[in-house]
Symmetry: C2
Subunit: 414 residues, 2 copies
């Protein structure tokens, strides 16, 4: 049997023990995981140093090396994140709805863990800890398949977390790491029907696309965000400038950063030179359509730019003919993540909110607010850009399903 | 372009008009669809007669011919079902939750249509009308792919429904029928990413399995139900008999019918002869394990029987060593649909409910109650046996997704 199937089978076998563990024990396990992390800096940092050395030797880019690198401070942050989970409301056992049928049957729809959650992710070892913590908090077992570059770090982290689980009388297999980092292992994970209840790919568009195409287990797509800010004719231009600069530059490498600026032609001449100055000052490279290039200093945009999630200090700019043109552009190029309008026109705001198909629609606010932490959900495992099960920030609730419990005293159907 | 992609593209283009239509207009469309059906008996029945003739000529089984056959009464029932949808609560626009963030942003999570719902189904033409009605009620466009045997009936029905949509100023393409009934058309539908928001296969296990394996669009599995009734040591045997007989014989051809009876060894000698008499009297063929065969008259069960959804007057019987043995059998052979325990022992009931992984768990009630109509949901598109998005009876709410609407006055992220 392959490592993937064996690991998934072990996780599946461990899942009932996690699902049936009372919240107090799952929380104790999270505390133990945090404490164990704090006590294991030396071992984890040593393993990570080997990963970092290999990555450098292979010529991995400095940005990726930075994502890979662990420090005592980063490890402490990871432990703190585990401790913060303890304080969050337990989703397991919540009664979503309940009613009594005319025949006297009592029906309750109750929140229960999914079972086994698998994650496929790229070079950031903190995902190992985040995902494991969210899984345990929500009563699930997890199967983790990180990248080859981080394999030593992930192995060390998983060992620490598994030991902590065992110390609380829970099965270590509820946190299982797949060490086979070949492409085939992802494919096999996506085909492990009956063993994997949910597969979440977390990473670039290419990884997500291939997981979606190849999987027969349920998948939730996360995080590809080609987000737009549309500055309407009726925008307050000072608000618009602040929102555009924030959406683009606050943290350009994440999915809720804006990638394209759409400006209504009636305000373009006034707005563009001003916002471009601010963006350039913040280090942003701009690529515009012909009209935008005439109104402010920037390079030309190619058709590919409208579909590119730069995840960098680059922004595409288009002057649109009007509201409908903006909607059309977003419908053609958006990724159903987050779209923003800046306007003081109530009718335009309502129409935008109604027409735009996205997980989150912002009116006079930065795209950066689409975030589980910002929404007050406490923790998130990603931003779902699909429509089924979960849309937008996915927190603990989204890592559960429900079951109907029907209690009677002998009722049969007439 | 293939018919499938063209049809899906037309439905996708029509979806915003349905999504943005107020409930009053969608309800008027449902009324118009019902009236048009009532006025089109001749045309639909003539088309159906051709389908029935062809099916008979091809030697299709009488049961399948019966499912295929339309009558004036069945057409009236279909129209009535459309009218009943009118009275149900509109899911679109419901605010699922709403809150104000510390920075003053107002966040609302609002229920919105999914977009395009595709259905793949077998020989029953009423699914064409049911699915179209549920889609329009929930603000969605639909793409319908029925079976070859029913193609003339489905074409006639779709034409009637599309005309009714148009009469209410809604695009006919919101109800689109795929006339290509090759296997490839199902595959292509399952690969129509960006055009199909949800694909629901409705039919036998083979159809569902192939759709799940081959699709990259989101799929919800429905309806495979290898349901068990477990008669516990502490069962009230009179209740148990009524429940077993009802679960097996009330409507054996549907997914929530029971297929296997598990009896605790301590009550098997008393219970089995009695229940077997009642089942045999109702025309049920029984297939038991060795112990069951010793206690009552029945044929032998093979290992395949434990995994067979008979959908017929056949029932497998096993005497289990105890509660855990029953749980183990259900875990090994259940299809996550509906499982029932009959017991007066509160602890056993609680343990069963907690341990069994299924969409619905019954205590002292027939498995037949897992049903949207019985639960009071008014209408259902199927019983989901998967854990994501929807579990158990899928009604109007499950045909929607949500979007977050965030309104501010210039907030940026700090």
């Amino acid at each position: 049997m392959s490592e993937v199937l064996q690991t998934c089978g072990e996780a599946k076998a461990a899942a009932p023990a996690i699902a049936s563990a009372p919240a107090a024990r799952r929380n104790a396990a999270l505390e133990a995981m945090a404490d164990a992390l704090d006590a294991s800096h030396d071992a984890v940092l040593a393993a990570n140093a080997e990963d970092v050395d290999s990555a450098r030797a292979e010529g991995v880019s400095p940005a990726l090396v930075d994502r890979l690198t662990l420090t005592p401070a980063r490890l402490s942050d990871m432990a703190d994140a585990l401790r913060q989970l303890v304080g969050l409301t337990d989703p397991v056992g919540q009664v979503v709805r309940g009613f009594t049928l005319p025949n006297g049957l009592d029906v309750r729809q109750v929140r229960v863990p999914l079972g086994v959650i698998a994650m496929v992710y790229e070079g950031r070892p903190n995902v190992t800890v985040d995902a494991a913590g969210l899984a345990i908090k929500s009563g699930n077992a997890c199967v983790l398949r990180g990248s080859r570059t981080a394999i030593r770090s992930n192995t060390a982290l998983a060992e620490v977390l598994r030991g902590a689980l065992q110390s609380q009388g829970l099965p270590a297999e509820a946190i299982s790491l797949i060490t086979d980092t070949s492409r085939d292992s992802v494919k096999e994970l996506g085909r492990a029907r009956g063993l994997v209840d949910l597969l979440i790919p977390r990473g670039g568009a290419g990884l997500i696309q291939s997981v979606v195409e190849d999987s027969s287990v349920p998948v939730i797509e996360t995080g590809v965000g080609n987000c737009h800010v549309y500055v309407d004719r009726a925008a307050d231009l000072a608000k618009a400038r602040a929102i555009v600069v924030n959406a683009k530059t606050h943290r350009p490498s994440v999915c809720n950063a804006a990638e394209t600026l759409l400006v209504h032609r009636d305000v373009a001449a006034e707005f563009l030179p001003d916002v471009v100055d601010a963006l350039v000052e913040a280090g942003v490279e701009l690529r515009g359509d012909t009209t935008a290039q005439e109104l402010a200093t920037m390079g030309p945009a190619t058709p590919e730019d409208w579909d590119t999630e730069y995840l960098d200090l680059v922004m595409a700019v288009r002057v649109v003919e009007g509201f409908d043109d903006a909607l059309g552009h977003i419908a053609a190029h958006g990724t159903l993540h987050t779209e923003a309008i800046v306007t003081e026109d109530r009718a335009a705001a309502r129409a935008f909110v109604a027409a735009v198909d996205a997980a989150a629609v912002m009116v006079n606010a930065s795209t950066r607010f689409t975030d589980g932490g910002e929404f007050g959900f406490g923790a998130e495992i990603g931003i779902s850009t699909q429509k089924l099960h979960a849309r937008g920030p996915m927190a603990l609730t989204e890592l559960t399903t429900t079951k109907y419990i029907v209690e009677g005293d002998g009722q049969v159907r007439r």
